[in-house]
């Protein structure tokens, strides 16, 4: 996922998602300074604890939210409309947050009242049982799980859910499981079941097996350690075999969660209402509640607008929230400085890590790349996104929200965040490249326009002949995504889909993935790294895999430096004074709607 700070997927690369991370600050109240440090420490300790839950950990109902009372309506302000309601087409965080209320999948993340996350069985009795060295995974459905129309959810529905993702009309959602099942790269997986299941064909039992009405068995060619994470993605939420209307399902999906879409209420660009689903049984669900009678969602409310509305806490806005709108950068100071507003805020990490790419096809001398890295003022990059609360300076490619993260700073950037021009000057001199031309591309969005001045200034002082290239933001990733782009350095951001670096290191640093529009923007290719990626991808020991991924990321950063990490993205969100149970959920990069209630 690249376009950090936008929820809308620019899909070639964007991944957004439901995925990422572990908990950090699930407490209320936007943190800053010392509070940030505390949140960070909590996050680090909890990160190590994320586990794949057993049947006991997956059994509902969810523990009650303190002081929660049932009833009432919550207004929800959203900037963007939901482009897709068919779960197989969901890959952006806005829809991902919505999906926690209306869709269920085989696994999910349970966030308990202490802020601890566990991967649990959602429709399944547990997070999955693997055999055959991680090549076979078996899931059993819970008893009593139903769709909104009362129809029981069976293994045939689960099989259909995965088989339909092979159809050509499904193009926006995740493809991890399909590619693992087909053992294929890119779009090749579609050949396993061309057109999907609609012609009466099914995946063979040797790939996806449903021996009885409650059992589903995945057979992979290679070991898959991250399946419980992947299955928790919104994109793999259950779709009924009877009732799948193909392309039209995108406008009228069938709910399986605690809420359903009020019939006829969804108006693209205007709004929608969610009402209680009477066929959702809380005893089957460890992750969700059904306190609120109704959610009234309004689209088209910009970040500054929702910030003003929620800061005012006027009569209309006391029972309002936004699932995904953040506090706009210009208002961060006011939120931090006003106790009454600050106590109605939540903060947390987003899965994105910002970086400045070095085009490895053009900048072949590592000393030059090091000189650039030392010169770049990463504090200026962060400041452009708003402080306090817009993010945290980064020392590695792996976000603090991922298992295995450690604090490192191999180039001393955290100690000298405004850049070390003298060191850069010295390195450039040693490389014999003083005065070399350096093409610096960035988007014409407000933030890059701010920080590009400071970056170019430091680079010039270090001895580079900097040529700035201001690119249109709507085509930016298309342009820098070209393998033969004519730029030397350019920023991007990438985020994980779940709390493992499997969704970061391979897409961004695997040299075999270099092609137009692929997210390996620095065109980095190191055969030794590629080989290591293959090895770690097949580890089934999650702890070992997390350790090895981080070690590989650190090695890439230290030895090859294809990118300079700049900052870890964070967000602050507001809510009205009469909305309770508002906590940040780092997994969905937003507040958690399943715990909300209206205060009496």
């Amino acid at each position: 996922m690249n376009t950090a700070r936008t929820h809308r997927a620019r899909a070639t690369v964007v991944a957004l998602s439901a995925g990422a991370l572990v908990l950090t600050a699930c407490s209320s109240g936007a943190g800053q300074g010392a509070e940030d440090d505390q949140g960070r420490k909590e996050a680090e300790s909890q990160r190590a604890q994320i586990a794949f839950g057993d049947a006991k950990a997956s059994t509902g109902p969810a523990e009650p939210v303190p002081d929660a009372t049932p009833g009432g309506t919550i207004k929800v302000y959203q900037r963007d409309t939901y482009d897709h309601l068919d779960p197989a087409q969901i890959y952006v965080s806005d829809e991902g947050t919505l999906s926690t209320l209306i869709f269920r999948r085989l696994t999910s993340y349970h966030l308990d009242n202490k802020g601890k996350y566990t991967v649990v069985g959602d429709l399944a009795t547990d997070s999955g049982k693997s055999t055959d060295g991680g090549r076979t995974w078996t899931y059993t459905l819970k008893k009593g799980v139903k769709f909104e129309n009362g129809q029981p959810i069976t293994s045939k529905d689960i099989r259909h859910t995965f088989e339909r993702t092979f159809a050509d009309f499904i193009s926006n959602g995740p493809t991890y499981v399909q590619r693992w099942l087909a053992d294929a790269e890119g779009n090749e997986y579609r050949k396993l079941l061309p057109g999907g299941p609609y012609g009466g064909k099914h995946l063979p039992d040797s790939v996806l097996e449903t021996p009885d009405a409650n059992t589903i068995r995945f057979h992979f060619k290679k070991p898959v350690g991250d399946l419980p994470y992947a299955l928790a993605m919104a994109g793999y939420s259950v779709v009924p075999e009877k009732g799948d209307t193909k392309e039209r399902y995108d406008k009228a999906p069938v709910s399986s969660g605690p809420y359903k879409i009020a019939p006829g209420s969804f108006k693209s660009g205007k709004g929608m209402s969610l009402v209680k689903n009477p066929n959702w049984d809380p005893n089957t669900d460890i992750t969700r509640h059904q306190y609120v009678d109704k959610f009234d969602i309004q689209f088209g409310v910009s970040y500054p607008d929702s910030t003003q509305r929620l800061m005012s806490d006027s009569a209309d806005n006391q029972t309002a929230v936004s699932f995904n709108n953040q506090v706009d950068a210009a208002s961060l100071q006011q939120v931090a400085a006003t106790p009454d507003i600050k106590k109605r805020s939540t903060s947390g990490y987003q899965p994105y890590v910002g970086a400045i790419n070095f085009n490895m096809k053009r900048l072949k001398d590592k000393k030059v790349r090091e000189a650039i890295a030392h010169a770049i003022p990463i504090q200026a990059v962060l400041d452009a996104f708003g402080t306090p609360g817009g993010g945290e300076l980064a020392g590695s490619y792996i976000s603090p929200t991922l298992t295995g993260h450690k604090d490192i700073d191999p180039y001393g950037k955290l100690k000298k965040p405004m850049g070390d021009v003298e060191k850069a000057k010295q390195l450039l001199k040693e490389a014999g490249k003083v005065g070399m031309k350096l093409t610096f591309a960035y988007t014409n969005a407000p933030e890059p326009q701010k920080y590009s001045v400071a970056i170019a200034d430091n680079l010039r002082k270090a001895g580079f002949n900097v040529q700035n290239k201001d690119l249109p933001s709507d085509t930016y990733y298309d342009i820098i995504g070209k393998v033969d782009n004519q730029f030397d350095i350019y920023p991007s951001a990438w985020g994980a889909d779940w709390p493992s670096a499997l969704t970061v290191i391979p897409p961004v640093y695997d040299g075999r993935q270099i092609q137009d529009n692929a997210p390996n923007y620095s065109h980095y290719n190191n055969p030794a790294v590629n080989k290591e990626i293959d090895r770690i991808s097949q580890l089934t020991d999650q702890k070992q895999a997390a350790h090895d991924w981080f070690a590989l990321g650190e090695k890439i950063l230290k030895e090859d430096l294809p990118q300079l990490p700049t900052f870890y993205y964070k967000q602050i969100q507001l809510h009205g004074s009469k909305v309770g149970g508002v906590v940040n959920n780092d997994i969905i990069s937003s507040v958690d709607p399943t715990k909300m209630f209206v205060k009496k």
């Binding site: 996922m1 620019r10 899909a11 070639t12 690369v13 964007v14 991944a15 302000y77 409309t81 939901y82 482009d83 897709h84 890959y91 050509d168 009309f169 193009s171 926006n172 959602g173 995740p174 493809t175 590619r179 890119g186 779009n187 090749e188 579609r190 193909k246 392309e247 039209r248 995108d250 406008k251 108006k267 693209s268 660009g269 205007k270 709004g271 309004q298 689209f299 088209g300 409310v301 910009s302 500054p304 607008d305 003003q308 509305r309 800061m311 005012s312 006027s314 009569a315 209309d316 806005n317 709507d474 085509t475 298309d478 889909d497 897409p507 092609q515 137009d516 529009n517 692929a518 997210p519």
Partner: protein, 325 residues
């Protein structure tokens, strides 16, 4: 009159065809591929080819244009079902039927436009006439200077200030919103009162200035002087002789303004988060959503052209010297 309407209608169709062709071909000149918006994380050339086929972008551009235009007249068949005429297709971004979306958004825009137009037309023309009537006096100076200040204001500046003051700080009004008049007439009125006020504020100032100068100009016309020379009262001269003539430029500009607003008051809709055609147009352009862009463009252009025809027809009623032939 009928000949006039027939001739102008034919002209309107030609203009709409030119606009449609211009918009359609200009879209493909842009360096952005809409398929990329619908391509997942691991987007490959193969995946893009599949999406091109799904969206119909695999056909030559002239063929796509022909299919689009013929769909408006005859309807078209898509994977999601038959799209009856007038069929503008389905959104690239979210598969919404374009025509239904436009019809869904239009009442918001109409409500905003008609309410604001009623205010700025009566208040603007009224104050402009008074200023002309009392030319050179204190009231004229107050109206003239106020209109100068207000016409320099911008909606994106005034709107948030009015919101902060009247809604967030004083709490005199609720959050602006659109409620269909058929559901709740009072809610419709109260929800739009602030957007009407803000939108009409800027327009009122412009119409004040225009009405004043137009009336002053009329008051210097020969037929007005003749009427005065014949001993008619100032009131009679003002309302019977000068007023009608002064309306010509106002009606012309009002027709254009109304047509443009029916196509979407983008900034006002965005400022108050009103789901009208303006916000739809902006979002469609941002999303490289060709069918939606085409639909909104043609819909807005139709209104501007229609209202121009109406304005031309009105000239004959306002000024007998004008002959439609």
């Amino acid at each position: 009159m009928l000949r006039f309407l027939f001739r102008r209608s034919l002209g309107a169709i030609v203009i709409l065809l030119i606009i449609s062709a211009f918009t359609f071909f200009l879209f493909f000149a842009a360096p952005r591929d809409p398929a990329l918006l619908a391509c997942g994380k691991n987007c490959t050339p193969d995946a893009i080819a599949v999406i091109h086929k799904n969206l119909g972008l695999d056909k030559p551009v002239p063929v796509q244009y022909w299919l689009f235009m013929s769909g408006i007249v005859t309807g078209r068949d898509f994977a999601v079902g038959h799209c009856p005429a007038p069929c503008f297709g389905y959104s690239f971004a979210n598969n919404d039927p374009v025509w239904d979306t436009i019809l869904d958004r239009f009442p918001t825009t109409v409500s905003l436009t008609i309410g604001a137009a009623a205010v700025f037309l009566t208040a603007g023309v009224g104050t402009g006439m008074i200023a002309a009537w009392k030319q050179g006096r204190l009231i004229d100076k107050i109206f003239s200077s106020s209109s100068l200040v207000l016409s320099s204001m911008q909606i994106y500046f005034v709107g948030p200030i009015v919101l902060a003051l009247l809604v967030y700080n004083l709490g005199w009004f609720g959050q602006p919103k659109y409620v269909p008049i058929t559901d709740d007439p009072v809610g419709w009125f109260l929800g739009l009162i602030i957007p009407w006020f803000v939108l009409s504020l800027i327009f009122t100032a412009q119409y004040t200035r225009m009405a004043r100068s137009s009336m002053i100009e009329q008051l210097q016309e020969d037929h007005v002087r003749t009427a005065r020379a014949k001993g008619m009262t100032s009131r009679t001269v003002f309302f019977r002789y000068a007023w009608r003539g002064s309306l010509i430029p106002i009606v012309t500009i009002f027709g254009i303004d109304l047509g443009s607003l029916f196509g979407g008051a983008m900034i006002t809709e965005y400022t108050f988060a009103l789901p009208g055609l303006g916000t739809l147009a902006v979002k469609s352009v941002q999303n490289t959503d060709l069918p939606m862009v085409m639909g909104v463009m043609l819909f807005a252009a139709t209104f501007i052209i229609l209202l121009n025809i109406v304005v031309d027809a009105c000239y004959a009623f306002i000024d007998p010297r004008v002959r439609l032939s």
